[in-house]
């Protein structure tokens, strides 16, 4: 055992795997987090690809055919005409402003997360705690904003939309407000379904991320990682949190902007 005599006390080394080597020069936990994230990428891609497929299979809005833009289930809605409300500013048309604010909140919480990781590298416990709290606050603010957006989407506009439908062989006209999984005042029901599924699945990820962040904050403040000698758990949860931010960047573009 002369070879091991030179090494330091048997602290847990995050770099060495059980076999003693280190594939791809990352720790086991980090590599598995990467593989989880790539599988999660496939899930989100499937949802966004489905959105693209269904959207392309529907009639697009064309001023030459339909005249001035209004909500109708005859064509796929233009997202910036659907999402134009901001809390406390009832009746003011501010297209995409609230979604933009939500995007900035999430990007900023990603920054505080990476600052927490950086503080962990320096074994600065107080700074890790501080930045984890900011990250948790950002995540909760985002979730609150999303709850408001969902509520508004479900309740609909003041005017509603008149739709014509065939009931028992007769055409009847009916005004519907907001959207659920079967009817939608903004456009075809599929649009509302995809909105609920895509932003809902992303929101679930944000919620899980906030729970993980709270756990990391709790364990940091009790000094677990300080005793362990490294803050790698902050990095691993950080990877997840950045991924959630990354998914939002794609949802923002392909659901709200395009």
């Amino acid at each position: 055992m002369a070879a091991t005599a030179t090494t330091e006390a048997p602290v847990f080394d995050k770099k060495t795997w059980m076999g003693g080597v280190e594939p791809m020069r990352v720790s086991y936990g980090k590599l598995m987090m990467w593989f989880f994230l790539i599988s999660d990428t496939f899930t989100f891609s499937a949802l966004l690809v489905t959105y693209g497929f269904i959207r392309f299979s529907y009639q697009a809005y064309d001023p030459a055919i339909f005249g001035e833009y209004h909500f109708s289930n005859l064509y796929w809605p233009i997202p910036e005409r659907v999402y134009e409300s901001v809390p406390f500013l009832h009746g003011v048309q501010l297209p995409l402003v609230f979604v933009g604010i939500m995007t900035f909140i999430l990007i900023f919480s990603s920054v505080t997360m990476v600052l927490a990781v950086e503080a962990g590298h320096r074994m600065d416990k107080a700074a890790v705690e501080k930045y984890m709290l900011w990250t948790i606050l950002g995540g909760l603010t985002f979730l609150g904003s999303q709850a408001w957006e969902w509520t508004h989407f479900i309740h609909g506009t003041d005017e509603g939309t008149v739709i014509r439908e065939l009931v028992n062989g007769q055409w009847i006209e009916r005004t519907i407000f907001g959207a659920n999984l079967t009817e939608n005042q903004y456009g075809p029901p599929a649009f509302a379904d995809l909105f609920f599924f895509i932003t809902g699945f992303h929101g679930t990820h944000v919620l899980s991320g906030v729970v993980l962040n709270i756990l990391i904050f709790y364990r940091t403040s009790f000094g677990l990682y300080q005793r362990r000698g490294h803050y790698e758990m902050v990095e691993k949860v950080g990877l997840y949190w950045h991924f959630v931010d990354l998914v939002w960047v794609f949802v923002f573009t392909f659901f709200y902007l395009v």
Partner: protein, 109 residues
Amino acid sequence: MADHSSHHHDTESGVIAEPQTKAIWKTFVILSVLTAFEFLIAFTLHHGFLKTSIFVLMTIVKAFYIVGEFMHLKHEVKSLIWAIVLPCIFVVWLLLALLMEGGFVFIAR
């Protein structure tokens, strides 16, 4: 104490190194400017191929900075980078194939 190369030793002596956050804030500024630029495009250009192309390009650039800097992938070994990037290229293929397929479904019904 100050000449120790490893930060592990700093904690043993109770000294905490200075924060190195320049790259982080630089990335944040880039992401913010790109998002602001997307907003500008959203309200100045008409819907069309050019607008969509700009949005897709901006999104890829933002993804590059988030994955490369925040998730540190840029500084990992090549095999790990490719293990992550390569599957995503196939996803782009799936996306394009199904967008075309969706267009055919529209024509067919």
